[in-house]
């Protein structure tokens, strides 16, 4: 266990992460994840994170060492796609029982590896440690080592039991397993000056294949993708790539950085979501490859492909413009990816309601990405009625969000589109963005909403649940207004600006004391919005909702800030 905790410390100490670099030594030790709140936590565990990061390895047998819950409740639940083997979708688990708890589960694990090799003969087996065997002291490293030697096949320990932390930590521990046991263990058959790695891309809904044809056309070879549609051998040889693109910084920054350290593979952080970002990423790949010795003409060819694809995409989006005129999108997500689609949404004529990313520069966007984690969490915590009021007040026509909030949106008879990992459509690259527009159009103009919003024949419009929700919230606001103590507590508890930690009370007091009337003035007095500036619209709402009165009902989004 001590080596695991050392590994976790190592992962927390990530010089490649800008946020981490600014922390004190003590802060860094605490790690980059918030302490989980019992009874108020959401999200997966470290094992979940490790599995998410590695499961897209298509030809590997993924063996989960633990009780039935860890694999039995979760197998075959990812939307990644494979161009070859389907063994990754097979659920393997030791399903340990009481006897194993008493006598240890190592023998069963060893036998399980043997059975898999005999029956399925995969090029490698990944063995995932979980909480219970970690507690009883099963040494999966030793078992994997013994099995590797005995069967002459890579058996890779992935040491990421659920209770060491959240999903995000598990992603990184999975990366460590690759760095320790996989990357650099084999040599490619041949190399080219155009070999790249794509790190942190999982090929969900096959979206990698929306971009791969362009790379193929340019003669750029994806030596390995970690881990979307990956073969074990690809990743084992990935240390020979010339350059790397890191797609999801949260998940696998340690892999990208350590590969740069160990093998001198330069990387950049990029995204294929959105037209502009796709072009930027292609350029960046070409630039890095040229830096590493590829011929200069690659850039001209890349620019030609970009120009052609951009023109094609914009032309395909053009017909949507008149249809989208005046339509508002509410963008809510925990995923950072959606931020790069904002430009495309706007270009198509959609208005973005409820965010302040309209004028963001690239640097701003980076900071928004950092902070969106917290903000999205706030939305996850919202009760349905708060969500409903938010939708109503934002006067949005469609909501784009992750899966968790979908039922609220749909039950509010609100067009909704999944843009998070569970989505069933692929939205990457130029074609993906056009697909997104088509999906938005389909959702917006579906006549079903009109049907769903009809009151039932026995229903009094004033008494339907929507009206009740609004009435209920108004009543709560009135109750707050009637009790100065409760109101004061509520004002202090409502965080408006997450970056600068400014609460509603502070802002309202500043407005009252100095007669502030603009976001700019409030920023000067309270520092609110001085961080990522995403809370600007909330301040605008405060200004709009509280003309001179401190006790009027709070703006809708504030309800969510609990």
């Amino acid at each position: 266990m001590s080596s695991l905790s050392a590994k976790i410390q190592d992962v927390f100490n990530e010089p490649g992460c800008g946020k981490n670099a600014t922390k004190s030594e003590a802060e860094r030790k605490k790690g980059c994840t918030k302490q989980l709140q019992p009874g108020g936590a959401a999200g997966g565990c470290a094992f979940d994170g490790a599995k998410i990061a590695l499961q897209p390895f298509t030809d590997v047998a993924h063996l989960v060492h633990g009780p039935i819950a860890c694999e039995g409740n979760s197998w075959d639940n990812r939307g990644a796609r494979s161009s070859g083997s389907n063994i990754w979708r097979t659920g393997f688990t030791t399903d340990i029982n009481e006897t194993d708890i008493v006598f240890g589960g190592e023998k069963r694990l060893y036998k399980a590896v043997k059975e898999i090799i005999e029956k399925y003969d995969p090029p490698a087996i990944f063995v995932y440690q979980t909480c219970v065997p970690a507690m009883i002291g099963d040494d999966i490293n030793a078992v994997c080592k013994a099995a590797s030697e005995k069967f002459g096949k890579p058996v890779i320990p992935v040491n990421s039991p659920g209770f060491v932390g959240p999903k995000n930590l598990g992603n990184k521990l999975a990366g460590e397993a690759l760095l320790d046991h996989v990357i650099g263990t084999q040599e490619p058959d041949y190399t080219t000056p155009y070999d790249i790695n794509i790190i942190g891309e999982y090929n969900l809904s096959g979206e990698l294949w929306q971009v791969k044809p362009l790379l193929d056309e340019l003669g750029i070879r994806i030596l390995s993708c970690i881990s979307g549609d990956a073969r074990y051998r690809d990743v084992a040889t990935s240390h020979r790539a010339r350059a790397a693109m890191m797609v999801c910084s949260k998940a696998m920054i340690n892999v990208a950085r350590k590969m740069e350290e160990r093998y001198g593979i330069p990387f950049f952080e990029g995204s294929f979501y959105g037209i502009g970002d796709s072009s930027d990423s292609l350029r960046e790949i070409a630039r890095l490859l040229i830096e590493r010795g590829a011929p200069d003409e690659l850039m001209a060819r890349t620019e030609a492909v970009i120009a052609r694809e951009e023109a094609k995409a914009w032309a395909a989006i053009e017909p949507y413009k008149p249809r989208f005129q005046g339509k508002k999108v509410l963008l809510i997500t925990g995923g950072v990816k959606s931020w790069s689609v904002v430009a495309a949404l706007q270009e198509a004529g959609l208005e973005i309601a409820g965010t302040s990313v309209k004028k963001s520069t690239k640097e701003d966007k980076e900071r928004i990405k950092e902070i969106m984690g917290e903000d999205a969490h706030m939305i996850d915590d919202m009760t349905p009625r708060e969500m409903y009021k938010l939708l109503k007040d934002a006067k949005a026509d469609i909501m784009l969000s992750g899966g968790k909030s979908q039922f609220v949106a749909l039950k509010a008879a609100m067009p909704w589109l999944d843009i998070n990992q569970e989505r069933s459509h692929a939205y990457m690259g130029y074609v993906g963005m056009v697909k997104l527009m088509a999906e938005i159009d389909k959702a917006l103009f579906n006549p079903v909403w009109e049907q769903l919003r009809r009151p039932a024949p026995w229903e009094n419009a004033a008494k339907n649940w929507q009206a009740k929700a609004i009435a209920q919230m108004d009543a709560e606001a009135a109750a707050l207004a009637a009790s100065p103590e409760a109101s004061e507590r509520a004002r202090r508890a409502k965080r408006i600006c997450n970056c600068k930690k400014v609460d509603l009370g502070t802002i309202e007091d500043a407005i009252a004391a100095h007669g502030l009337t603009s976001v700019e003035q409030i920023r000067q007095h309270t520092h609110a919005t001085a961080g990522c500036s995403i809370c600007t619209f909330r301040i605008e709402e405060i200004l709009a909702a509280l003309p001179g009165s401190l006790n009027a009902s709070p703006a809708p989004l504030l309800e969510a800030a609990e």
């Binding site: 019992p38 009874g39 819950a69 694999e71």
Partner: protein, 462 residues
């Protein structure tokens, strides 16, 4: 009489089984204003939550004590305490149902002791309904978690009626097994009400997970049976338990309240429904309504029309014991041969399944045996989709989870009408398979082309 064997493999491949704690949490979801809480690491909850959300396509309440490595080693009192306080304050539930997991059971947390201490230390919780069930992941299966949890709810929440309390002859408790869908519960409710009876379901998933749009906005369950209603279940004249797994809860009910029970192991199939309807007529002293006389006729006709297609089919079925018993018996009665039966956990019904051997195993076993036995009908939950594709035989999804098709909550298999529709669904599946894959060709019956594509698989006579 079937032989029950337990698989000997070290590695379960393509699990059929799901864990006990989420079966327990599932039972709590049938209570009004409930927040189920798993005492374990956050992943224990999030995997379960995802599974329920994918199945029902609904927001599902399920919380975690978020045990860290340190907390696990030191014991989880503080996490349980904090979780309960947080949930109590933030979501204002009417009840919190707690299930343990593998991590906390390995440590040996005394959660009942924790709860006593928490009640002492926090007067606001002194009488708040908290129900705890021990459900380690490394033992038993989903169905067992449900079974234990419902029994525990009866023990803790049902009140013993005072002496001289009159039983209400119209009131009937229904204890449904976890293999019934919200749609099944609604069907049973309608049937009981048509006999003039007033049914109370424990748990009542039809109230909470039937996909309705809520009137109130709450983060807990929206509907289901209230704690106060559970408390009063002792006043009922009868308890009807459905599925052998519910015997434990029915006995607990009888022990605590004296309410007699009748266990129906099956509600799918003509004879099974006859028994049920006959019993209702008897206890309600009510003639069988015309509606059910007609439905029985329709079912009989459906069986006539369908037996041509279902008869002789070789069924491979993987399901939890009660669902396995129910469906395989019905199909056996329609002339199908139950060639392969795989299940998740022990149960007294297993040896009465109409087959030679019942294997406690996984979907790899089901697939291998189905292939070896040239089965031509597969029934299991959605995870059977890969096996079905490889086997190339008609696949009917049944049980939990059903995440790759819509309407899981409304799938119906009980009563004359439910049985009728299920029989049509399965027969139609077989007809479509026949049309698409088994049309005769000029070579079908040629002597030397026994294995030519498009041929009927040889039918084993028995």
């Amino acid at each position: 009489m079937a032989k029950v064997t337990v698989g000997k493999k070290a590695c379960a491949v393509n699990p059929l089984k799901m864990s006990q704690p989420i079966g327990g949490a599932f039972a709590f979801m049938g209570l009004r204003g409930a927040m189920p809480l798993l005492h374990g690491s956050q992943g224990c909850t999030s995997f379960g939550l995802t599974l329920f959300v994918r199945h029902f396509k609904e927001a599902v309440p399920l919380q975690t004590t978020a045990m860290s490595e340190v907390a696990t080693v030191l014991g989880g009192y503080e996490n349980v305490e904090q979780a309960i306080l947080n949930i109590h304050k933030r979501t204002k539930p009417e009840i919190i149902g707690i299930c343990s997991t593998g991590v906390t059971e390995t440590k040996g947390d005394d959660v009942e002791g924790f709860l006593r201490l928490i009640r002492q230390n926090h007067p606001q919780l002194a009488n708040f309904p908290l129900v705890y069930v021990s459900t380690p992941d490394f033992k038993d299966a989903f169905q067992d978690g449900w079974e234990k949890t419902v029994a525990r709810m009866v023990e803790v929440l049902v009140e013993t009626p005072g002496t001289g309390t009159r039983r209400d002859p119209k009131r009937v408790n229904v204890l449904p097994g976890c293999h019934l869908t919200p749609g099944d519960l609604d069907e049973i409710r309608t049937i009981l009400e048509d006999f003039g009876l007033q049914p109370w379901f424990l748990p009542d998933l039809a109230g909470s997970l039937d996909g309705h749009i809520p009137d109130e906005f709450v983060p807990t369950t929206i509907g289901g049976i209230g704690v106060d209603e559970v408390a009063a279940m002792g006043q009922a004249a009868w308890t009807i338990a459905i599925g052998a797994q519910m015997r434990r809860a029915a006995e607990a009910m009888e022990k605590k309240t004296g309410t007699p029970f009748r266990l129906f192991e099956r509600l799918c199939g003509l004879a099974a429904c006859d028994e049920f309807i006959g019993f209702l007529s008897e206890i309600s002293e009510c003639e069988v309504p015309l509606k059910y006389r007609r439905q029985r006729g329709q079912l009989a006709d459906a069986m006539l029309d369908s037996h041509f297609h279902i008869g002789g089919r070789k069924l491979a079925i993987g399901a939890e014991p009660d669902l396995l018993f129910d469906l395989s018996s019905m199909l056996h009665e329609m002339g199908a041969k139950v060639s392969v039966a795989v299940t998740t956990t022990q149960s007294p019904v297993l040896e009465r399944i109409q087959t030679d051997e019942v294997l406690i195993g996984d979907l790899e076993d089901l697939e291998t045996l189905a292939k070896a036995g040239a089965c031509d009908l597969l029934i299991t939950h959605s995870h059977g989709r890969q096996a079905a594709e490889r086997l190339g035989i008609p696949f009917h999804r049944a049980g939990f989870p059903m995440f790759d098709r819509l309407g899981a909550g409304h799938a119906l298999s009980v009563g004359y009408r439910g049985t009728r529709d299920l029989i049509f669904d399965i027969a139609n599946l077989i007809i479509a398979d026949h049309e698409n894959n088994h049309q005769p060709t000029p070579d079908t019956w040629r002597i030397d082309s026994a294995v030519a594509p498009g041929t009927e698989p040889a039918v084993a006579l028995h």
